[in-house]
Symmetry: C2
């Protein structure tokens, strides 16, 4: 079944992406230059990702904190690599006041309100965070310091694209301080594992998990751990990075600590981040020619239940069947609903009996008014199964197609004839046939199928890399494989110059260098100079 709305993905991958993001209501470019608006459905996906990642950080001993949006210009000059990367294109605050335009309507910048020192809207927070750490770190007892921040950052981008490249984007950034190099490197590696866990087990994206070459490392990093995912056109996407930063940068900010022997020592640092860019990877990794596809772990809604009302039949009979025989068992009798009075605000769990009383009471209509589309929302807290019972007056066909575009993994249609037989009709979003399922088997059917969808998406992502990766030994083989948009393991002589030559010729860059692959004697595919180790080349976003 093809979808006449959407451009086939291999025809124009970019056009299709824009259509998906728009039609599934995920996000949109803003009229404000370089910025995006993240719409409620897209934001709900992001919130799910954030929730998992935040818990993982807390489980590994990190705390959240918040640091200033603005960086004084002088901070950026403190570390040479840093200023080179970040100070060039950025948002510069120069004034603190507007005034009425003396020459006409509107407001203009008040020239008398010039700041003594310009403030840069943070492109990244190392400088302002480490200026603060200087106050916090005095002794070995203050270490390790394990902090995570959720922040908006701004880097000017000329060609913006929603989620992938916008000037303002949202991200978490972790910044840790350690007493020893060993501990700092272990932290950077552990966070590499945390990201990989999130990507595999929640986002269902399998990535190659190695280190960056020197030229592709983060400014100031001594080692950058990366995860490179393969998009459906074969290009790589750097999905997240974890950095071991050594001591140089923090020496510039004069951060030192006194060890057990009261000797002054340098502090070892790491940093890492994952941004709204991961939304781009999520959308592009799974969606097919038909529509958006989301792993159940991050989908805002898991099941939409659509009653098929007939004019000559009693709606409330069907509603009661859905509530008592379908929803209640799925959510273990725990409901969340919109309150109608302040008394109900704090206690948002109800038994099914209470809910029936409510359903039948005069308050029902009041309550209906508040929620758009009059949809029931129920959360199953334990496993976080999210249901939507769509009782709006749209046609069933329209309810199906809306949900299909937004990729709700399972759809249950409830007919009068099935109600009498205690069965329901379920369709998986990734299959075309419908299934009739007995009420008593519903819960295990739902759980099994959501799990199955999650796993099958991860498997597809693994298969893609598996089928589209190759080892080559010569320049000709290399060019041919890169032309076919493959992940290519090849030898190179290890110089930045050669890396640049290869990129000019083929557009491929070194995506990452294996951490533990076997060494072998061979020659660089470009220069013929000796090489000991293959690295991963690919074209990249």
């Amino acid at each position: 079944m093809s979808n006449k709305w959407l451009t086939p993905r291999l025809e124009d991958y970019s056009a299709r992406y824009n259509e998906l993001v728009e039609k599934a209501d995920l996000a949109q470019p803003s009229e404000v230059r370089w910025c995006m608006v993240i719409k409620p459905y897209g934001f709900a996906i992001r919130e799910n990702i954030k929730k998992y990642l935040d818990q993982m950080f807390k489980n590994t001993g990190h705390s959240n904190a918040y640091f200033p949006l603005f960086i004084p210009k002088s901070y950026l000059s403190k570390e040479a690599d840093h200023v080179e990367w970040f100070a060039k294109e950025c948002a510069v605050v120069t004034h603190h006041r507007l005034m009425n335009n003396p020459d006409g309507p509107g407001v203009v910048v008040d020239p008398s309100a010039k700041l003594e020192e310009e403030l840069i809207v943070r492109p990244t927070s190392e400088t302002v965070i480490w200026r603060t750490y200087k106050d916090w770190i005095q002794s070995h007892r203050d270490l390790p310091l394990l902090i995570n921040q959720r922040a908006n950052v701004v880097r000017r981008e000329m060609r913006t694209r929603v989620f992938l490249r916008t000037a303002e984007f949202l991200r978490q950034e972790g910044h840790t301080a350690h007493a020893t190099e060993k501990e700092a490197i272990e932290e950077a590696k552990l966070m590499h594992e945390v990201y990989d866990d999130l990507m595999r087990n929640f986002l269902a994206i399998y990535g190659v998990k190695w280190v960056k070459s020197e030229s592709e490392r983060f400014a100031g990093a001594e080692e950058t751990y990366t995860i490179e995912a393969m998009m459906q056109d074969g290009k790589a996407l750097q999905s997240c990075t974890s950095h071991y930063l050594g001591t140089n940068f923090w020496d510039a900010f004069d951060v030192k600590f006194r060890d057990e022997k009261n000797e002054e020592k340098s502090v070892y640092a790491t940093s890492r981040w994952m941004s709204t860019r991961i939304m781009w990877a999520l959308i592009m990794s799974h969606s097919d020619d038909k529509w958006l596809i989301l792993p159940p772990a991050v989908a805002p809604i898991h099941i939409v239940i659509v009653p098929i009302y007939k004019k000559w039949e009693d709606d409330s009979k069907l509603d009661n069947f859905v509530m008592s025989k379908i929803i209640a068992p799925l959510i273990n009798g725990k409901w969340t609903k919109v309150p109608i009075s302040k008394l109900e605000l704090s206690t948002n769990e109800y038994t099914t009996d209470e809910l029936y009383q409510f359903w039948e009471s005069e308050n029902y209509n009041k309550w209906k008014m508040i929620i758009k589309n009059e949809e029931w929302v129920a959360l199953w807290y334990a496993s976080e199964l999210k249901l939507k019972y769509d009782t709006s007056d749209k046609s069933p066909w329209r309810k199906f197609s809306e949900r299909e575009l937004k990729w709700v993994p399972l759809r249950i249609a409830v007919w009068f004839r099935d109600m009498e037989n205690w069965i329901v009709e379920i369709a998986r979003r990734d299959e075309s046939e419908k299934h009739l399922v007995k009420i008593e088997e519903l819960k295990s059917y739902v759980t099994d199928n959501l799990k199955d969808i999650q796993i099958s998406l991860l498997k597809k992502s693994m298969d893609r890399i598996d089928k589209n990766s190759t080892e080559v030994n010569t320049r000709d083989e290399f060019i041919f494989a890169i032309d076919e948009n493959k992940f290519v393991m090849a030898h190179r002589d290890g110089t930045t110059e050669t890396e640049e030559l290869i990129q000019q010729e083929t557009k491929a860059t070194i995506r990452c260098i294996p951490l533990d692959n076997k060494l072998e004697d061979w020659v660089c595919i470009k220069t013929g100079k000796p090489s000991k180790q293959r690295v991963l080349f690919a074209k990249a976003y």
Copy 2:
């Protein structure tokens, strides 16, 4: 028991606040002008507040979304009141690039990189959100639109104070659109109830919940619903506001919709926000002369368990007792712990048996290394009871005093002698005596006492307003009562001029106007002109 570190609260309320915020590790001013750093302990409190409020918004049908940080200058000029309030003191981005200083070291603003139109760092988001709503709202089917955003906003403040007044602060802001005036007013009132619910039931702050006078309304609002809390010095703090905004503002942005009859209609709007300022209210409302006091509902840790190790006794025996007889029953056997390998990252719940195996394994030391202070952290998911088992090598006395300053509501000390008798020693932070509690009664003791602390704080807050509020009938009575820092119900003639005169004379402002108090014939305490209704006057922060 007095605390020699802290200034008595009635001696210098402000100095004491700064000390509390610093000593309890909540936040600090930043070297970056006008900005603050929210430290991990302070941020954990904020996260708890955010979690409750976010759930309440979701329960009332709202979705989260995200809009741009920058507002083009021309947006701010669209609505007259708006520009008057916000455009005057703000952070203005004029350039998009820095360059190496041609005349010396460092970087300077690149004069060739001037923006065509200046961007303002959002002081509030109405303009940029409603520019977007214009695209989203076409028909009555698109309404109501119920959106909440979490954002950092910037308003220049000359005299900054952490949490109370800083240029950059964090807040949620809700912006809704409705088809009818009636529905919009109901929404503004419902959100007023939501805030009140949060304040009473979670923050344990009782506030006066009425509407603002015309001169104190939000720019552009037709009605502003406010909650005015009373601080311990008797001054009022406007804790949160919910606004009914009518149609004028959105008409300026040309947002219209077509109703059921396909006629073009204006959209009715509301907005509301609660910011990091609520942290100030929380700290100042409860803390006594000794230290910080937090309601258990928002405290980052509920119970600290301190083992009293003796050199000649076996630590692991005590540890095992604490784990199996104290912690395990309290948390229903559900643990969160720091993982030592990636395999453990996704499954962070363990049975007590698994935890013992882990405790006894060689991995224990590896794991200990990761968490600062080697503290066990266990979460009881169901009731969210947060425990800390402090096994660090600090002295018990130091562990007690650190926790006291941060106000952990309950403290359990575990002695060898008590272990043998299956009892533990518990102290409530708001009482001086210790209690011996039998292990089998521990769980109910903990639950009851946390609930009791929460309720007693709310009661204190209610009593404060009760005892320090008064009705007056004459100018002399008014001046006397305001001098005593009371909440004063008095008649006034309803003009903005009289309001200003009263403020000049007494520093008191109208905090709010009752929604449904009885009307009576009397005269203005200032001008003697007729008045029908008493309003609430007070000095305010």
